[in-house]
């Protein structure tokens, strides 16, 4: 499990360095569009289902245009679904008012609101993962800084990201060593865990000191600079504006109802 988590992290990172039209967009445009998308989806009332359907267009477009493996992302979405599911599943149990019927089967309000929660969950989490799969993390940090995040926090994020992989590998070695000595359950308790973490901490502090000295000798003066230039081009503006327009259209108008009525009239 540990190894696979690490692998997933690295794989997402690799995906973000691909070169497609979506990947080339400015991180600011993608970050803002994603946030806008999430807020719009979440702003739907509790019993909304039909209105959410057109929003699947966004993740589908991103998957297709950026060539992101669907199954990999869906697996990750499934992994984190527990909390929303666990809280949402109480709705059908509590709200039993029959409010509708689906081909003669009565449907309670609780099931509808539960379905709505799960659809919102799917949309928001998928879009967040697609953002990181199409944008390098340093790019996102750059966008955050340009959008006014304090510098301390942004450099903290960059450092954390840089050393994440180093420390995870070191931790994997520690855990492997512990597991080899512990023959199943013995030795995996809290006390040995605390010592493990303590050792890891001391090594980390020593590493930080070495890093600091290395940085000093390269002229570090308290701030981090980015070599890669980011430019907010016309294409980025067009992407952001068209996303916003589409989001507004899907939110303010009953697209599903219109399509349904049109097709009924046609037949």
């Amino acid at each position: 499990m540990f190894d696979s988590e690490y692998f997933n992290l690295g794989y997402l990172d690799t995906l973000s360095y691909r070169d497609t039209a979506i990947h080339r967009l400015d991180p600011r445009a993608k970050l803002l569009a994603t946030l806008l998308f999430i807020v719009t989806v979440v702003s739907f009332p509790k019993y909304e289902i039909a209105g959410l359907l057109p929003f699947f267009l966004f993740p589908v477009l991103l998957f297709a245009l950026a060539d992101i493996p669907v199954r990999f992302i869906m697996k990750k979405v499934l992994l984190v679904s527990s909390f929303a599911f666990f809280i949402g599943i109480f709705n059908p149990a509590i709200d039993r008012r029959i409010v509708s019927s689906f081909f003669g089967v009565p449907v309670s309000g609780g099931w509808i609101s539960f379905l709505s929660i799960m659809m919102k969950f799917l949309l928001t989490i998928t879009s967040a993962l697609l953002l990181i799969a199409t944008t390098s993390f340093p790019g996102i940090c750059h966008a955050l800084q340009k959008l006014g995040m304090p510098e301390v926090f942004v450099s903290q994020l960059l450092f954390l990201y840089r050393y994440l992989f180093v420390l995870t590998e070191e931790t994997m070695r520690l855990v492997r060593a512990r597991d080899m000595r512990s023959f199943g359950k013995k030795g995996t308790g809290m006390r040995s865990f605390a010592h493990l973490i303590g050792t890891l901490f001391l090594r980390t502090v020593e590493r930080a000191e070495r890093i600091y000295q290395a940085m000093l000798s390269r002229g570090f003066s308290g701030r981090l600079h980015s070599v890669r230039p980011y430019r907010f081009s016309g294409a980025d503006a067009a992407f952001l504006l068209s996303t916003a327009a589409a989001l507004y259209l899907f939110r303010a108008h009953d697209v599903v109802g219109a399509v349904g009525r049109l097709s009924m009239r046609a037949f």
Binding site: Y6, I38, S43, P45, Y47, A50, L57, A64, L65, D67, K76, L79, V80, F83, A84, I87, G88, D95, R97, V99, S100, I112, S116, M119, F121, T124, I125, A128, I132, V152, F153, Q156, L157, F159, L160, R162, Y163, L167, E170, T171, T188, G189, M190, S192, F193, A194, I197, G198, F201, V205, A208, Y212, R251, D254, V255, G257, V259, G260, S263, M264
Partner: protein, 344 residues
Amino acid sequence: MHMADALLSPAVGATFWAGTLGTIGYCAKKLKENMDDKMVPLMGVLGAFIFAAQMINFTIPGTGSSGHLGGGMILAILLGPYAGFIVMASVLTIQAFFFADGGLLALGCNIWNLGIYPCFIAYPLIYKALVRDDSPPKRITIAAMISGIVALQLGAFSVVIETLLSGRSELPFRTFVLMMQPIHLGIGIVEGFVTAAVINFIRASRPEILQSAASGRPLSARVSIKRVFIGLLIVAALTGGALSWFASANPDGLEWSIAKVFGRPELPEKGGIATALQSVQKKTAFLPDYSFKKPDGAEEGRGGASWPAVEPGTSVSGIVGSALVLAAVFLIGLLIRALRRKSA
């Protein structure tokens, strides 16, 4: 106990983001004033350390289940509240991006729940008050235990409040609280115990690290605590405001939203309350709801007055519309993919 986007309303999500961003800004300002450059790599690498440490499972005695570390308390004790909060926020941000733990809107809530309480309540008010530089290990254990439990209880309670304010879940307050608090009591005890063990281990092997952490970034004067508290009060008031705002906007979401579940766009004109609500909702909703009147929608809205009996015609057209929209969406995706494969 990561809060999830799907359970949040935009108002609640935005309110907690505002509180979180304000705190990040405040901490950044504090750190800028009295931080030497050495802290930059230390904080970054410690964030990676917490991240890695969270991945190690350990068995919880007597239960056979396994737990892992949260880390907020350890960071507050090792780095002080300001740097500790920034590091915790960065860890949660990375988790939100790479593991989609909760989601991006809920990130504000998650940083609030797991960062503010350990760093600005449990650490200064409990841990700091109980522990001196020369306190024996037992005292540290007790202090870490209590503060770990308090921080997690507050965090769990916040999740309850955030969920209830958003109004997406049907769970009543009592049931939800009775469900969340005991679970997190257990988690808090484990967290406290592990925190204490790690702190004691570090104290035994490299005591100077803890001393520099405690002296370098102190909660310097009482004033700063006071300021943090005033900040907390303001945010609490804002949250309360958001609650009443939304409560007044939809006293019963069912009334006006059910009619639209299967694609019926408008509210039956019952006059009085319904129209009043509609106008309130239109004015206060984060985005204009699509229940506004459409010129061609008049004939469809009639059956809605008795909403439990769904008019079959509209319902079928709603279902047909849904199916068509979904099919179109996925066809577009498949088409683009096929075209790309061909050209590649």
